[in-house]
Symmetry: C2
């Protein structure tokens, strides 16, 4: 057993060097969803493997049919020390619209936004490169201070988290023996607020779909054919409009099968967090919850399913005007799932719903973009209790148990393929603008995140 | 008075040279709606002025705040000869999606598509460069055969017809004395079919609008905010879906004010044309009329108003998937007007309709893209009777009176600013794919169109 204090001191003393390393990683344009950035994704994987090797991990880049995985292992102080598998992802979201970025998304910088508060700017700073490096830096500091780690540590870095993780399940299945640990540490979530760390125990699932409505065999002049020929934008708009009723409920038959009412004591605990619709929506310029009426914003994003339209395109979208009736129009649509909603049933029900609204002389094509059920983690694991205490020691306020609106399919996959529970700890803030222009990560998240992982590793080893 | 036969012989003998000239004009990328093609629009205007000068017209390029006009004049055989103003437009529609073109849109070619049937390919071949050159070639042949024209001829070529004609009204107003003639010849319409010429006596009007729905102050992660934050694509889809009811009628209050039922004898005459929904929609791969139920396709496109969605965009539209809630979404929408529908009232009613559907914490911006009322020309003008006979002499079948689904705002502007009726004659076919990839113009339209104008000028001068 090693002492924690020298590790924390090392982290404080080496913050600048850790920032240089993070900036190197942030400069790599590892956009996984766009095939044009294939080489950059591999470059990020190789950078990480090399960095882990420099700390003493046996680390390697593993090919998949998509972007590669990084797998690394490090011994603990003894064979019976706890064994954790840390997970993060090195891929990032696309950066469009580029003109809304205040600085180059791939040229990270440190900016002082108010006295004493500094942020790290750039795509991936919060999601997820900045987060995963908090753990790597904690390991590095342990090695520097003590020449050893307090636990046996394995690491898995994925490069397809932002594009549906197509290679993940086969990889976990093929490498289950190597990757299995006592439990997983997943660092892709957020804090409750700037002072309050959080452990996420619930995660919404996701079904992603893309539909293309096809009408005429070519674009038409709306003067010659308008009023007679089917317009795919009109058909698509009607489909999308039909998906919600006046109360904000999703109308797809069977959509709410498996959705449970949140227990009143859970709702009451969320109530104590004091988050109003104004608190939640104000920072993004809104004030009225758009989901099912009569539920708090926290319940809406943590415990209720949704249908969201993530993109739509059809016809002429350039400057000026073109009096055209398009041959086709398409939309990307996602469903957030909770509790026991079945992704396969939801997808099938959605497709039936769409097909029923396609005129007989038109057609529709579907394209699948991933699917995963919701996750509910147990509240009473000993790992959870240790991590909660460790986090509470580091931050101004005690750690809270929350749920997450987004999907982290890896948590379900770890359960399914490795029989392993996950501990979800992360240091993002709700204003980090992940997936948006001007993504940032607080310098305090990066620094105290490193210290938090050092504390958690120390606690888990006790 | 000059003899017609030598003029027709000249047109037959010089067809190849007339094609070379048309191809030169088609190569100029005069896309008026896209500011990137500003120089090419001027180039087209200059090419036309120079060509008209070579025939003996006093022709000049006239600056506007947008793309320039071409104005030209030529004396007739005597000061009291009829005076016509010929109108065409040298600008063309954008060419996207470029990948659907079988050959370069701006490298015209002559293709034999079946034995004896050849087509001219390229953007603008039918709309409207090929059409306007039929008249220019008829004038050239008259000069070559007789050294004179049978009428006094003025010409106005516009360069903003495909982008809402912002400069036209001020130009007509400022130059009314110079441009006023006995009546106008407008060549921007089509034939009834390959064998049957047509004169258009009704034209739908147009209101063009672009709306942008704005919700959050930035793009959001749909996991973090989905179910709580307003989604502008959902708001926009609901607005568009609300615009039509189940029977295909437009639901905007007051939309049908000024719409008249088409007289039964007119409907009966259209009935004799024998056009079924299958005839009309079959070539574009459709079969079911999408407009108001219980009306023929000809009535739908010639005599009923419409709301069409010409473009829509919002959120992530690239490859793959992005779980984003967009900050804004927009759509280009046009209304085709008939009879006495008022463009200003329609625009106002539409905007009220949209505003009523914007949540209190969101906003909408409107951008106007032109507006013009419908036109109904008189059936009993002597010019019309002469032109009808002249066309019937040239083509296999007699000319018919039809209506047009599209807008040609110039016809209303000639009435308003120059107090002048128009004669609408054109040689386009419904499969010319104007505004679409692979636009073409029949070689027979180009050649017999030239001969038709020669006959019409000859008939008008009698």
């Amino acid at each position: 057993m090693t002492a924690l204090a020298p590790v924390l001191d090392t982290l404080d003393a080496t913050l600048d060097a850790s920032l240089d390393r993070l900036f190197d990683l942030l400069r790599i344009q590892s956009i996984s969803t766009d095939p044009a950035y294939r080489d950059q994704c591999r470059q990020a994987a190789e950078w990480l493997a090399k960095d882990l090797q420099s700390i003493g991990f046996s680390a390697s880049v593993r090919d998949t049919t998509g972007h590669p995985m990084v797998v690394a292992h490090h011994d603990g102080p003894s064979p019976d020390a706890p064994h954790v598998l840390f997970y993060g992802h090195y891929d990032v979201q696309p950066v469009d619209p580029l003109n809304l970025w205040e600085s180059d998304p791939f040229e990270p910088s440190l900016k002082e936004v108010s006295p004493g508060r500094r942020i790290i700017t750039g795509r991936g700073s919060a999601d997820d490169k900045g987060q995963l490096m908090t753990f790597v830096e904690a390991c590095r500091a342990y090695k520097q201070a003590h020449g050893a780690l307090p636990c046996r540590v394995s690491i898995l870095f994925e490069g397809e988290e932002e594009s549906g993780s197509p290679s993940l399940k086969p990889f976990l299945e093929a490498n289950a023996a190597e990757l299995k640990a006592d439990f997983a540490l997943v660092c892709d979530t957020g804090m409750w607020d700037r002072d309050t760390p959080a452990i996420s125990t619930g995660l919404r699932g996701l079904v992603g779909e893309e539909i293309t409505v096809k009408a005429a065999n070519r674009d038409l002049h709306s003067g010659s054919f308008g009023g007679a020929a089917a317009n795919p934008i009109r058909i698509l708009a009607k489909i999308l409009a039909d998906i919600h009723d006046e109360t904000g409920r999703v109308t797809i038959p069977g959509f709410y099968d498996g959705v449970e009412e949140t227990p009143s004591q859970v709702l009451a605990s969320w109530e104590t967090l004091g988050e109003t619709a104004e608190d939640f929506l104000g920072p993004i310029g809104l004030s009225i919850p758009s989901g099912e009426k009569g539920r708090s914003v926290l319940e809406l994003v943590w415990a209720r399913p949704t249908a969201e339209f993530n993109g739509i395109i059809g016809g002429y979208t350039g400057k000026g005007f073109k009096t055209v009736i398009a041959a086709e129009a398409s939309s990307k649509i996602s469903f957030r799932l909770v509790h026991k909603q079945d992704p396969i049933k939801i997808r099938d029900a959605f497709r039936d719903f769409v097909r029923a609204r396609i005129p007989a002389d038109c057609s529709v094509e579907f394209h699948e973009h991933g699917g995963s059920p919701a996750i509910q983690l147990s509240y009473d694991s000993p790992f959870l209790a240790k991590a909660k205490d460790a986090l509470s020691d580091e931050w101004p306020k005690p750690a809270v148990m929350i749920a997450m609106g987004g999907s982290i399919p890896i948590v379900g996959d770890f359960q399914t393929y490795l029989g392993m529970e996950s501990l979800l700890v992360g240091f993002g803030l709700s204003d980090d603008r992940i997936h948006s222009p001007n993504e940032k990560y607080e310098l305090s998240s990066f620094h105290k995140g490193q210290r938090s992982w050092a504390r958690i590793l120390d606690a888990l080893a006790r």
